[in-house]
Subunit: 413 residues, 2 copies
């Protein structure tokens, strides 16, 4: 493989949005626009679907200031998709179409910004291009609030969501303890298979205003024990704040949110109001206390106003490093993070991992970070997460509201 | 009434918490501690219940820096209550007890920080003290995110909630439009009888990222028309963001959240998941689209991290003015705000209103600010609300999380 490769690049965004996925896109776009090897920078509308549909934006026509606002604009500004690529050995039509578009625009660099599925897409495209003989360097840029990507210390997007969750739990804790007549509050936090986000509520507890109980999907959930845990704290303090991961499940693997439990009247609450309101109803029936369920919903993943500057910086870095590495000859890799302590201070280094080693694996919270009672996390989690949420970005505002990037999105022809 | 009155004061907090109610408490406490007429400053634990239970904190024993952190500590730090005082002509036992406590601690000033109910309490206590011959100056300090207090241009607490709602709607708008396969998002906002909070989502729309439709309790809700409105925008744009006030109701006055509608299967969804999930389900059945309901829940009223500095300043001012006015001889009044334009700039002046003229009236959004279609508000609302949300407080932090006041709460004896 020659190191010198001149041509256009495409950046695409995939999967659920985060507060900082656009910071990664900006890292790619800015570095690519400044690179001598990269002749044109295209943004794919709605990820790989934009490539398949020949819908590419010419990022070179954007105003530099507007592009810089991507650092603080939540969600996926280029549009996202959830599109699972078929195995090319079974059905290679999508891949042939991608090759056609790559050839049409002389695309020699492809950057894909997403989670597990995106890395899988990246990996498949990379192998197909290798086989087809069209030289194109393919790099994955990690993103997921779930923090479950394999091989990286953490993922861009996680820390900002964690900071949002911790701050919000502190505020809810303050609010829900204001009366003297008892209150149980149950906060539902994202994370279908890994509990990193729900565990982040622990950061609030560390500062004296967080959940008394935390339930994660890494361990089996037992409704009877849960009700006992809540009752015990309610009896002691009169107030209980509970954080639950949306992915908590019984020993048989069935999600609590989908199961019909004996404490309900059996017509499937879960689909109506979500896990928080299901649990709130059961706890209310059991304890007779005032109970409120709160679902943090989309708010936790798009809360750019509470982003971590560390996360913004690292998200940008991931995009930048992907471009630099590709220009230097790398392909088929994902940018990953390695935690280093320099003079006792947290420092984030980058490394490259083969896409094939990342795609389709999930990283979960170490079981030893979960207390034996399965209802709290240990201080190990705080040591892990606290450096990641540091720093408050200075967010450009207009009339006291955030000023998001306004891109022209001129279609390439 | 002599202007010179020396004695202790009590500050109490009542009703639902806000992001800035503690800023008002700090306005009272700081000004009272500095006043020569006020000998002791007591904080009542859980509002008037703290007086009845003889549970008063000696605020003079608090550290000055910790007290100053009340400016950015959400919720009611002294504790709150929802306690409706009886009419003293029917049952004066509570009032006699209050008099007993006032005499025990030589309380000559009583400041009560709350909404409609608090002003009613204030008004009754004020009249009882007058009749009893115990000279005590009673002042109401306004507070309510609902913004429905009569006679004041706006209420401390509203603007910070409005800013939270607008910012969150901008973020949700970004997040919910990220895929190209259609999405309807319904955001449920507080406000049982007045639509000020739900209307605040309009501030986001003004900046290009807000609700397509807004439904308020000031007008009757029609489910059929609502579904037509949503369908129309969905057909045009493929994406719809809807803001609804929790207090929307049918023409017969029944809350939508409590009614069983023909589009449901009649087993009372409302009690299970709230209005947002009820509407989401109905819209999903009707349109077949992907629909998500989001309830902003407690988050909107305790979001101190997104407070308006204008609101913080005015909340403090309300407390300060209450003490100054009382020391100067006023009693039986509530501090209210008057909007002035000075050199074309918003300025907030204070005035005093008789408590009897404020208690038990509700201020609603002028009907002419609601569009004839009853599904949006006009720019009049933006002109009204925008000056109130200006300014971002610099919030003291510890490890990137807010540093709340830690009071000693030493009980008075």
């Amino acid at each position: 493989m020659s190191n010198q490769l001149k041509g256009a690049c495409i950046i695409g965004q995939s999967g659920g949005p985060t507060a900082v996925i656009n910071a990664s896109a900006y890292g790619v776009i800015k570095t690519a626009l400044e690179s001598e090897s990269i002749t044109k920078v295209y943004g794919a509308a709605h990820g790989i679907k934009g490539v398949l549909n020949d819908k590419l934006y010419d990022m070179g026509q954007e105003d530099a200031y507007e592009l810089s606002l991507l650092l603080h604009t939540p969600s996926s500004e280029l549009g996202s998709c959830r599109y699972k690529m078929k195995d090319p050995d079974e059905d290679d039509r999508d891949y042939k179409r991608i090759l056609e578009i790559f050839q049409k625009y002389n695309v020699r660099y492809f950057f894909y910004n997403g989670g597990n599925d995106a890395m899988d897409t990246c990996s498949k495209i990379s192998r197909f291009m290798d086989k087809s003989g069209w030289e194109c360097r393919v790099m994955g840029v990690p993103k997921t609030i779930d923090n479950d990507l394999y091989g990286t210390d953490h993922c861009p997007g996680f820390a900002s969501a964690a900071k949002y969750i911790a701050t919000t739990c502190m505020e809810v804790s303050k609010d829900s303890t204001v009366y003297d007549n008892g209150q149980i509050t149950i906060v539902e936090i994202m994370g279908r298979h890994a509990g990193w986000l729900a565990a982040s509520s622990k950061l609030a507890e560390h500062f004296g205003a967080g959940p008394d109980l935390i339930y994660l999907p890494e361990v089996d959930f037992e409704m009877g024990q849960f009700l006992k845990d809540v009752q015990k704290i309610y009896d002691e303090k009169g107030k209980v704040l509970v954080a639950v991961s949306e992915g908590i499940h019984y020993a048989d693997g069935v999600f609590v949110s989908e199961a019909k439990t004996s404490a309900t009247d059996g017509f499937g609450h879960a689909q109506l109001g979500g896990l928080a309101s299901l649990l709130a109803r059961i706890v209310k029936e059991e304890t007779g206390a005032k109970v409120r369920g709160i679902e943090l919903s989309l708010l936790q993943r798009c809360g750019a106003h509470l982003a971590s500057q560390t996360d913004v910086d690292e998200a940008f870095l991931a995009g930048k490093v992907a471009v630099e590495a590709a220009v230097n000859g790398e392909t088929g890799k994902m940018v990953a993070f390695e935690r280093e302590m320099v003079d006792g201070k947290y420092h984030c280094a980058t490394k490259l991992l083969p896409l094939s080693a990342v795609a389709n694996f999930e990283k979960k919270i170490p079981v030893e970070w979960i207390t034996p009672e399965k209802n709290q996390v240990t201080d190990d989690f705080i040591d892990y997460a606290l450096p990641l949420i540091q720093g408050d970005p200075v967010i450009p505002k207009e009339h006291a509201l955030p000023r998001y990037a306004r891109l022209k999105k001129v279609l390439a022809e």
